[in-house]
Symmetry: C2
Subunit: 379 residues, 2 copies
Amino acid sequence: MDYFKESLKLHAEHKGKMEIKSKFPLRNFEDLSVAYTPGVAEPCRKIADDVNDAYKYTTKANTVAVVTDGSAVLGLGNIGATAALPVMEGKCLLFKKFAGVDAVPICIETQDPDEIIDIVKNISPAYGGINLEDIKAPQCFYIEKKLKEILKIPVFHDDQHGTAIVCLAGLINAFKLTGRDFKTSKIVIAGAGAAGIAIAKILIIRGVKNIILLDSKGVIGRSRKDLQFMKKEMAEITNPGNIVGGLKEAMVSADVFIGVSKPKIVSSAMVKSMNDDAIVFALSNPVPEIDPEMAKKAGAAIVATGRSDYPNQINNVLAFPGIFKGALKLRNKQITDKMKVNAAVALAESVKNPSAAKIIPGVFDKGVAEIVARVVVRS
Amino acid sequence: MDYFKESLKLHAEHKGKMEIKSKFPLRNFEDLSVAYTPGVAEPCRKIADDVNDAYKYTTKANTVAVVTDGSAVLGLGNIGATAALPVMEGKCLLFKKFAGVDAVPICIETQDPDEIIDIVKNISPAYGGINLEDIKAPQCFYIEKKLKEILKIPVFHDDQHGTAIVCLAGLINAFKLTGRDFKTSKIVIAGAGAAGIAIAKILIIRGVKNIILLDSKGVIGRSRKDLQFMKKEMAEITNPGNIVGGLKEAMVSADVFIGVSKPKIVSSAMVKSMNDDAIVFALSNPVPEIDPEMAKKAGAAIVATGRSDYPNQINNVLAFPGIFKGALKLRNKQITDKMKVNAAVALAESVKNPSAAKIIPGVFDKGVAEIVARVVVRS
């Protein structure tokens, strides 16, 4: 199937992918008087008295805003707020399908981080949570940090933490299968955007000591003079041996390769230079950093990709619906590192008999969002 | 039925009144690949090439943002953005029910007009239109004016123009029945907020020469020294005789009284002082400016209210769903005075045999939104 052609057809046929549905019918004046004036004044008065009553009487209880400025959309780059809308609608559908959460796209025209923060703060009353989406690095780090400080409702940048949680979940089982320990393993991460940095951070929280993070210019380390604020911070907490060079140098004796960068940057020789029973997560999508078959032939024991047509798909959708389903129950609490790590552990443990071909749940496995939601609420 | 009690129960039961519905199922990886990645990249690319393609491929084509700052909600006053949410949700339900238009609440925390303008501008990409709602006067006039200048998509403050259109529609038939002419009639409007001023303006466009507008301090005229910008403007274009005084003085020899103010401010004596076959629109809700029976006894030939349990309910819902249904088809055009007047004429004409008890369509009459939408598109 030509997905591009089909997608265009489908979008044109329906004029977008979502619509509003009333939770009850407006059949007559009595219905109107209860749902709207004069009856509606009563829930309004209750909320005016105690703003937390919005969770009792309104859609705030179950609604997430999917917020983008369209600056880093899929592999398409900075296509702007309007062109990002089909992706945001898609995301909203995933929220509903996998966790029963109502989500609405908020497409913001400005790409000034402080303006975005101000706008999100000001439109937050109607939402129980904010999912930041497809906002470019390093702005995304600043925007998320500030919003978490300012807002009471949970804020979560899925491109960072969704990917990081599912990645960690897969690694937990991959480590079990290959007898590895987080403390003693060397992990190479290619790509220092939103996902790469979040993966590095969650791995450090999990106990990893030896992470080598690379951007398009090579290994990030303390000798690099060209680093922005977030990469500079990463240079301090990764690359303990302070190595320099490119991917080839970094991969030698690595236990794990995680790619969140570009197609085909990893060669067979690089995988061969890794430790025995290497773990390769080639997550660039749709074309991975290395062909999974090629990685296996070069000695990788476990391979994961971002694709649904290979085993072990590292897909955000395993995390974010459950994360928000849980967070919406907590109401005025931010999503913590502990919640994220526990969600990853729960995802890993939900695979009953992990194998090289099944280290994480499948996207359509039942009950995944519920498992994640429960662990978020308990954390 | 105790509408307040029932409303609270219903809102608590459902946690708000609306939800998101997917326009097609996500059953398997093929569905995901078409609705989301990788297929979704194609509509994104098309819109990035031509931003107007958003109307072809996204929910922008049929989605209106219902925007409030919660500063003038129903009769409750300035209860804030969060407490306004039940009303905004109700409004969204009316959009869907009466015109099939998808609408979403946008509740804005700040009440600074320039900040509101900036926020609405920045979040406009996902919407085909902006319905301003329950924003206090005089800020609402400035916000609407500026947004109409800045944005390409239609902007409409329903509290002003929805009320004005339906009011004019009712008057057209009331004038037919009582043999009156717009040019020679004297019309008294009590209430110089959003609705009162918009009614005065549409009546002037329709040809009325003698309008007396009153605020809480009395008749608005050129001798008043306490007037803000919009009332000052109204002093220039109403009250040609430059009369001074209160409602009692204003009502003498009036042909029409329109109340958009407070309960029970009109006495029998005042109605008796009007011209024969007087027309009384007592729209304060739920308690009108004068009891309809009392108005009739005092000599009013035609009485309208805002209530569903009396004849001739002047209800915005006869206008705004159709106005936006039409405006969404026009896409990048503002709603003009001509469209509004033509919509009122069409609403009046849609009543086949007007009588004192039926000067406007009923809220649940079929096809009303379609009639209004067609006239907007043609205007």
